[in-house]
């Protein structure tokens, strides 16, 4: 187990470095950062001064090495726009995004798992069809549009919920539903497929034959085994969701890291965008690492294979 864990950890670190290198080069090679900061009416002298001040005139590899060395120590440089340390800016906003992420994944699990279980107990029944419809519709629904429709219905028509902001828990209800609905279809399908497989397994038949009650068979024997892949899928989905929060946060003006990313992209604030890409990637890498380790711990076959 230790060997597997170390190998997996090494891979995660390697992936992190590669992502940082790719995103750094993409952002630095694709535009002229000095013009972006100085604005379109800047003179040549302005641009030269900015190049020197920020070190854009130095070799590319040197810039990357310096940025990486500082980033590892938690220093992501100064935001061009806010003139504040990027690390501070992001730390401020990250709690909102984390809250949203945790709420959304909880919402997705609390709706998708029961629905998947019910659908598996009665395949091809009405509830199975409803579950299928919800998941198919969920995959096709543009989340920004779903968010707007919710604002029209719940904020404008019925005046139940605030349309934007992040002050109270009520501001989080609609973003949670929109972001959670994005993760629901995959979780529901996996729960249903897992339950269908497990319910036909020999040990479930044995449990029934022994005379175990229906509830006991369902929760103690079947769900416990069917839920294992769902847990690792949720970890991956959580990583995707934090990256996807940029759309939801900008619709509801929820001042989290995703909103900061959107604003910073519009302002060509490279250090902030760079740091955010790296941080969102790290979250994804961390969640998949944890889920892989948990799986290997639960299932010895993975460790060896």
């Amino acid at each position: 187990m230790l060997a597997f864990a170390l190998k997996r950890l090494g891979l995660a670190v390697l992936v992190t470095f590669t992502v940082s290198a790719i995103s750094f080069s993409l952002l630095h090679l694709s535009g002229d950062p000095a013009t972006a900061i100085a604005g379109e009416n800047a003179t040549e002298a302005d641009i030269a001064a900015i190049n020197e001040q920020y070190g854009f005139d130095r070799p590319f590899a040197e810039q990357y090495a310096e940025w990486l060395w500082n980033a590892v120590q938690g220093d992501f440089g100064q935001s061009y726009y806010f003139k504040l340390p990027v690390a501070e800016l992001i730390a401020d906003r990250l709690s909102v995004t984390m809250t949203l992420g945790v709420c959304a994944i909880s919402f997705a699990l609390l709706t998708a798992v029961p629905l998947g279980v019910l659908a598996a107990i009665r395949p091809n029944s009405l509830i199975d069809r409803i579950a299928l419809f919800i998941s198919v519709a969920g995959q096709a629904m543009p989340s920004f549009w779903f968010g707007l429709i919710m604002i029209v219905v719940f904020s404008i028509k019925f005046r139940l919920l605030p349309p934007s902001g992040s002050e109270t828990w009520r501001h989080f209800i609609m973003p949670t539903i929109v972001l959670g609905y994005y993760a629901m279809p995959a979780i529901m399908r996996l729960t249903r497929a897992g339950m269908l497989e497990v319910l036909n397994a020999d040990y479930v038949r044995t449990a029934r034959a022994k005379g175990a009650g229906a509830g006991r068979v369902l929760f103690k024997h079947a769900l416990r085994n069917a839920i294992v892949p769902v847990v690792s899928l949720s970890a991956v989905q959580m990583g995707f969701m934090l990256g996807g929060s940029i759309v939801v946060e900008s619709i509801f003006a929820l001042h989290g890291a995703g909103y900061l990313a959107w604003e910073s992209i519009g302002r060509h604030d490279l250090p902030t965008v760079q740091a955010l890409i790296l941080i969102f990637s790290c979250f994804y890498i961390l969640f998949t690492l944890l889920s892989d380790l948990a799986n290997a711990w639960l299932d010895p076959r993975i460790r060896v294979g």
């Binding site: 590669t18 198919v136 096709a140 543009p142 707007l148 604002i151 940029i246 519009g266």
Partner: protein
């Protein structure tokens, strides 16, 4: 189920593969629905100049925000009304179908080419090649797609070509994953070994033995990634960092209608429903193709 099995057991020898396939296709309502809706959208896109009475770009400030035909005060020459600049909404919707289909198709082709090359190489050669490709897939999955796409489009400036290129270079991961595992499953089969034994070159084995047998999976992934690309383009354009105005992109139409959604909700519901239906149809088509070509994999 029982009646169907009784029917097939009677004529089990007589039923040919093509008849079986036809039966499966016509018994699959999701697939039929997907085909029908996609057909309508493709027709709308191709014949947009014939179907639309107005240009999607001509502004008419005297006739701004005319409501669609089912509401009071509508103008019969603008069936779906006009937007905040007085442009015909039906024309913009029809021409918008071209943008969505173009983005979906070209993106899926680019990412399909990259992902298939990587996945087939990894699956066929295994070993170090496989390790390298798996690593690349991990790196790609770790990058937040929306964020990276937005950042690059913002730096290069939004245009149709840039959006297609960026999405094409970002969405290859699923192709690589699926092609890798499909090729792994068949690379040790007898007909592949036989081809190797009679001295076929590697490119020949890959192109004429491996590819035809994984083409089904490739087509299914292609439809799903088309849908994915269409949704992402709409989201990027909605956030203002995708296709730029005055191009009639559905995402952009929703973004422009957002300011008026309080009084004119149809400005966002019409393009939104179009987007939803198109993506739904492509997804159903993909799921249906999987069910029909590989019924044993139905999940």
């Amino acid at each position: 189920m029982t009646s169907a099995s009784a029917q097939t057991s009677e004529s089990i020898v007589a039923v040919s593969r093509s008849v079986l396939l036809r039966r499966r296709v016509f018994g699959h309502y999701g697939l039929l629905f997907g085909l029908a809706v996609l057909g309508i959208v493709v027709a709308a896109a191709v014949f947009a100049p014939l179907l639309a009475e107005h240009s999607p770009y001509t502004q008419n400030l005297a006739a701004r925000m005319k409501p669609p035909f089912w509401m009071a005060g509508s103008d019969p020459s603008h069936l779906l009304g006009t937007d905040q600049l007085g442009r015909d909404y039906l024309a913009r919707l029809l021409y918008g179908a071209r943008i969505s289909l173009l983005i979906g198709l070209v993106t899926a082709l680019i990412s399909g080419l990259i992902g298939t090359a990587l996945g087939v190489a990894a699956g066929y050669f295994g070993g170090k090649v496989d390790l390298a490709v798996t690593f690349l897939i991990n790196v790609r999955l770790a990058m937040p797609v929306v964020l990276v796409a937005l950042a690059i489009v913002a730096l290069f400036g939004g245009s149709l070509q840039i959006v297609i290129l960026v999405l094409g270079f970002l969405l290859w991961d699923r192709f690589a994953v699926v092609m890798r595992s499909s090729v792994m499953q068949i690379r040790g089969l007898e007909y592949v070994n036989a081809a190797r034994a009679i001295g076929c070159s590697t490119p020949r084995i890959l192109l004429s033995e491996i590819m035809p047998n994984v083409a089904n999976n490739l087509i299914v992934v292609m439809t799903l990634e088309m849908a994915h690309a269409i949704l992402l383009e709409a989201a990027l354009s909605f956030l203002g960092l995708g296709v730029q105005p005055p191009t009639p992109s559905w995402g952009l139409m929703i973004s422009e209608g957002k300011e008026m959604m309080l009084f004119q909700p149809w400005l966002i519901t019409i393009p939104g429903i179009a987007l939803f239906l198109l993506v739904l149809a492509i997804n159903l088509l993909g799921d249906g193709l999987r069910d029909v070509t590989a019924p044993e994999a139905k999940g």
